[in-house]
Point group: C4
């Protein structure tokens, strides 16, 4: 890749080809690059994770170090190539994936110069986000888009819901602090609020739990309430998804007889048998762009 | 604000302006007041919470005290202004937010006169409810109304469901008291009922858990049952939300061609392209009133 | 009530009136009886629960005993009156509520003759089921019926789902027994299966939890799977409820213009303004029968 | 069964009859065989489970052993008969149920020759899967198919969701490792990721839980997020099930008047009263094949 600059003839053609390989995923060569990239990312995450396990680090530390450096150099090269090939290097550097790319190589270099930065090494796990870029170019994008759209459409309602829950746990936590008091583990209001969250979300660690009868009665009420409350975000998202699926169905009408209401996977009109337009066609086109 | 009474000329105009500032949220000045109020409320809640953390109180206790008093005085002034500006001072004092406003300043004064009332200080956390008043005047009211409406429409069904769950945990708890007995932590029926609630709602603290084989078998049945039961409130709320979203869609028909079934975010008729009436218009108007 | 037999004149009329009071809930006298009954039941359950709390029994044991006997005698009288008034005493005695009525008075008498039967006393908590009889006659029956219908319609699917879950936890539990072994708390396959249920239902007591890395990896997979699985019963019940709500909407068509699709709470046709037939009318009639 | 080969006359008729008995479940004799098989499977699973309980093995070990061998011999015979009767022995041996059949008898024989294989004995619990074969031939297949279809249709979306969750827990786990560190139980990134999964899925064992204030704040955010996230798979499956139920309703139109939109359990057209075609007819036919 270092001889990229030497290829003066047929410049734009070659550069365009590289850009295709890196940014798209249709032809075999482009897919191969993606698969290799995913394998490299997964391996590097594995190394980061295993390196944090004390006994493994003591035994295979040097090996992990070697692996890490090889992968970091490769990722650095990839980052530079992307910077070079992008239509606007600055826009790429500021984009979400540009920042992720940088964050996933920086800690290794920082560790070299600043010894205290060792803990930052676990930031390298952000590399896992880079897999999404590859997926973005693949088939999954259609479904993911639908999901994201339903979540986005419900975002406002969910925000209100989360705010209501936060208010509720503040009040419940403070009341529990009054009821149980510091001698039963509810040492402060923030800790009681933490307990209320643990309880309302039905996580229930049990590191703090009500000891007095009144506290247990109060906790019971919170739990039964939480049982009902959990229905709300589910209701929001489900109603939205049902609506989208309904709209999609209705909008796909047969070009020949005009009948709509075909199933999501229908390929022929159920009334006159004419082939229906392909629902995923538009997605494929969108996925081409970066 | 203390010179409010001196402004004799143009009285109703000035008073009306103040009322607008405090009760509405459309013009910049009105919005600024709301933002300042929210900041003050959040700060005061922060102080209440941090003040309950032992090490922080020992170190910054005096600072917290100062902050608390400044904010309490401000809130007291605000309460008095609201009382004065409200169309009916008595109706305001009895309203939900009137009581919350009073409850959020009372504990500080009580603490001054009655030393034993210190624990009541955590009641000040109720100030968090005051944020809702501000939100009520803002954009979020539409979505919150829809949510509240769906919950209210399902309230009866949820009440029956909660009652059935309470009955169930009473019976299950008593049976578990019979099976496990006091020697395994199930010291009384209320405690066993508490355990049954903790289990059925899938919170699972683990402070009490079945020890005998029969108890574990019985608990397993409860858990699998609870798994199915959790579906019921979700089903209730979701069905209601889906219905509301369906009704909204159907009721919004194009004024030109009469076609209905437009998406929730549609702005133009999907059949003839005429602009659709704004769905949120009525909300905006409602939000104006207090 | 003991002088029931003396009233020879106007016999059927008086008996009919008693039957109305006990079995129905429309007129004030009938409602009063229901309310008194619910109060008595709730009090007796309270006594049963508090009696099981050691410190309270030691202090108020005699009081609880008195209360218990007074209520038991009242319930016995009520049982006998019901037996006497029922159209078929035998059918009543065999019916669900007849058995519950008997079970809620028997333990107290058994305790008198068989000292060892003291533990059976907690069976008296079954009295809570008697409240449903009263509710059955009241307004709530409509909503409860809809809920019960949706659950019944999905019963088969839920049964299959529960069977699939039981199969899954058997296999997962056995595998975990292989992976973790008795030294980490997974002392036998039934115990491992119990753990798998606790995990899959997201209860998570924490009395047994994976200790080895492989075990934690395996548990992670189970948990993420359980996350997806919990969606299935919810989906079943919700789809059924949405369907019922859709059918109800469609079936209620305006008698004047034939338009259907009115909201569940609509009282007038949204097209021509004619009053719609009352949806709850049929329920009220059904509730009359016992 | 060993004299199967001797019956030369009417060969195909007899063999066909056996095949019917083993592979179908319509006539009494065929049903009897299925019931006996289920009883044998359930008994053998019971033996496997009880055999793993230390005190029971010490006391009834020999009895369990006898039972195990009798059942294994029976299952071996059944396996051989199936191999013999199947249209293609090789295809059966490679099929899902063929492998399960083999796996459920192999461990017992292996244990005989290789003493160290004792732990593999718990693989016998896979016998529980064999019950599905019997169910497959029975009535439940319709509902199970609908469930499976809804799950399969949402599989892609759920896969994306699971992948997003895995990414999320990797990042959250690593951050928690940074925040809490090894001294609070978060000894390595994989362990922190395990904790993040336990928390996000609301299982919450409590074997590891945040100790620092910052950690508890971060955990609170994770929990509230997880609360919203749990809505997504539920939304996916529910929307799919609602859609299927809608399509089924629409597709079943009356042969006489063409009206559609009948309830799922409707047997007569709600408009003209003509009998509707049986929805489950096609299932019954499919269930015949193996």
């Amino acid at each position: 890749m270092s001889d990229l600059k030497d290829s003066d003839w047929e410049w734009s053609g070659f550069r365009e080809k590289c850009r295709r390989i890196i940014f798209l995923s249709n032809r075999p060569a482009e897919k191969l690059f993606d698969v290799l990239l995913i394998v490299a990312i997964l391996m590097s995450i594995m190394v980061v994770m295993l390196d944090s396990v004390e006994p493994l680090r003591l035994r295979y530390g040097t090996l992990f170090n070697w692996f890490e450096w090889i992968l970091t150099v490769l990722f650095t090269l990839e980052y530079m190539v992307r910077l070079y090939l992008a239509r606007s290097a600055f826009r790429y550097a500021r984009s979400f994936f540009g920042v992720v790319d940088l964050l996933s190589i920086l800690p290794t270099y920082l560790d070299l110069f600043i010894p205290g930065a060792h803990y930052l090494m676990s930031l390298r796990v952000l590399r896992v986000l880079r897999i999404f870029r590859v997926l973005k170019m693949m088939q999954f994008v259609g479904e993911a888009n639908q999901l994201a759209q339903a979540v986005r459409a419900s975002a406002r309602k969910i925000a209100i819901f989360v705010f209501a829950v936060v208010t509720l746990v503040c009040i419940l936590g403070s009341m529990m602090y009054l009821i149980e008091g510091p001698e039963n583990g509810y040492t402060s209001i923030p800790k009681s609020v933490y307990w209320a969250i643990v309880t309302l979300t039905t996580v229930g660690y049990g590191d703090i739990s009500p000891q007095t009868t009144l506290g247990q009665l109060f906790a019971s009420i919170i739990m039964v309430t939480g049982y009902g409350i959990i229905a709300v975000p589910t209701g929001i998202v489900t109603a939205e998804m049902t609506r989208v699926s309904r709209v999609v169905e209705r909008e796909l009408s047969c070009g020949s007889c005009g009948k709509d209401g075909h199933g999501n996977d229908a390929r022929y009109c159920r009334s006159c048998g004419t082939e229906l337009p392909d629902r995923n066609a538009s997605f494929a086109e969108n996925a081409e762009g970066d």
